[in-house]
């Protein structure tokens, strides 16, 4: 914010940066080679549903847009914090198709002026072989243009596998811009697509 904005108490909403999403398919290959984690084919977009009719109409348009190509429907849900999640399903092998869908949702919201209300997008991964109850998500922060890993410990409520998260940071650090500020790696417990 500029000096005048600070003085006058005017904060501008931050605009999102969408393009880095397309780096995900490459990173997924690297991730599998390094840790054995593979994509689940689930991905979701989290945004703040703005009150009023304009946003409700837009939300309907996005659903129709994603449901248009034959494939399972997107699922809409609301979490305890009042944020809306759009869950998209794809074949686990077709990660670039999933990323394209997520990008389409984001781009539609942004071009209609609701970009400041985007929170994050995430793509789910599952553990290798006999550890397939382990989950991992790569979360994209629009306002920063950075990614961070989120890995809940299986079977326990609200505990994170920090060792795995740091391992993932090392593995995909070359492919994705990783959020350097660890305090911004916020947990998304129970997020759809995890």
């Amino acid at each position: 914010m500029g000096f005048l904005d600070v003085l006058l108490g005017r904060s501008k909403p931050v605009k999102p940066d969408l393009d880095r999403l397309f780096a995900l398919p490459t990173a997924a290959v690297t991730l599998e080679a390094a840790t054995g984690f593979t994509p689940t084919g689930l991905g979701s977009v989290c945004f703040r549903a703005v009150e009023g009719g304009a946003f409700a109409r837009l939300q309907r348009d996005i659903r129709e847009l994603l449901d248009a190509d034959e494939g399972p429907e997107v699922e809409l849900s609301t979490d305890a914090y009042g944020y809306t999640w759009l869950l998209a399903r794809h074949d686990p092998g077709d990660l670039s198709g999933l990323v394209t869908d997520l990008h389409a949702v984001n781009a539609t919201l942004e071009s209609n002026g609701f970009g400041p209300h985007l929170l994050c997008s995430l793509i789910g991964f599952r553990g290798p072989g006999d550890e397939d109850d382990r989950r991992l998500a790569l979360v994209y922060l629009y306002k920063r243009g950075t990614f961070f890993p989120f890995a809940p410990l299986p079977g326990r409520t609200e505990a994170r596998d920090n060792a795995l998260e740091l391992q993932v940071r090392g593995a995909v650090g070359a492919d994705l811009p990783i959020e350097p500020d660890l305090s911004r790696w916020f947990p998304v417990w129970g997020a759809p697509g995890l």
């Binding site: 005017r10 904060s11 009150e51 009719g53 304009a54 914090y81 071009s111 306002k143 305090s183 916020f186």
Partner: protein, 305 residues
Amino acid sequence: MARTRYAPDRGLTSRMLVTMFLLGLVYVAFVTAFFVIAPKLGPAVLVIAAGLLLAQYFFSDRLALFAMHGREVSPEEAPELHGVVDRISAMANVPKPRVAIADTDVPNAFATGRNQRRAVVCVTTGLLRRLDPVELEGVLAHEMSHVAHRDVAVMTVASFLGVVAGLLTRFGLQFGLFGGFSRNRDQNTGLVLLAVIAVSALAYAISFLLTRALSRYRELSADRAAALLTGRPSALAGALVKISGDMARIPTRDLRAAEPFNAFFFAPALSGGLSFSALFATHPSLERRLAQLQEISARLSREGA
């Protein structure tokens, strides 16, 4: 693009500018008058005042937490609260502030800290008990807007004059009582000191009113920023009504006994003198805040696709 939704509120901006201008004007006039009347006392008092203000500026977060008996909490202790703060920080792209809880049933929240790195937001247990997560988010976004707008810095500078004037009044009184009025000094000293006291008191009174006005405008700015960030002006409005409703109920208990006597007063103790008390309030009236939020809500649902 519906970018116009975030166009600045010109009325609010201009009123805030006028207030800041007047505040500066009073300050300049005051300092000039002071140096003309008592050139010797000036520098020392200014240094003391500046020192106090620097301390207030640098320790604002710790002072406020201490005064409110706030206790910093970890994400494990208060996962929901941290979750809300995490999300607001990610939406607004600001560093996450420290989170604290004050153990009192009065519903309230505050945020302080001279910059975003050192910010701390504190909520009371009473607020957590009364608000649902969406309303809580509105309140926290409001408080975090204060940090983003650097209210600590702006209000510290704005209250500079008030503090200086207050100090001078005190010094003037001390000198006047213990030395200035004694017969063995020449008569001029006493007169000068009286003049200093008078000017200081006047400057303090004016700057007091102006800082209050500035504070009210900044509250409106923070409401606006929070409503646009969360996209839920109505949730914030609901939270305001809940909080103020509860707050209004607390003092009535004590005042109830006094109400029968109102018939003997010229102005009733509760309803009268509204415009006068509005001058001294640090927060705008609930109606004013609700009206602004309603306007934002109408705009949000009208514009877009």
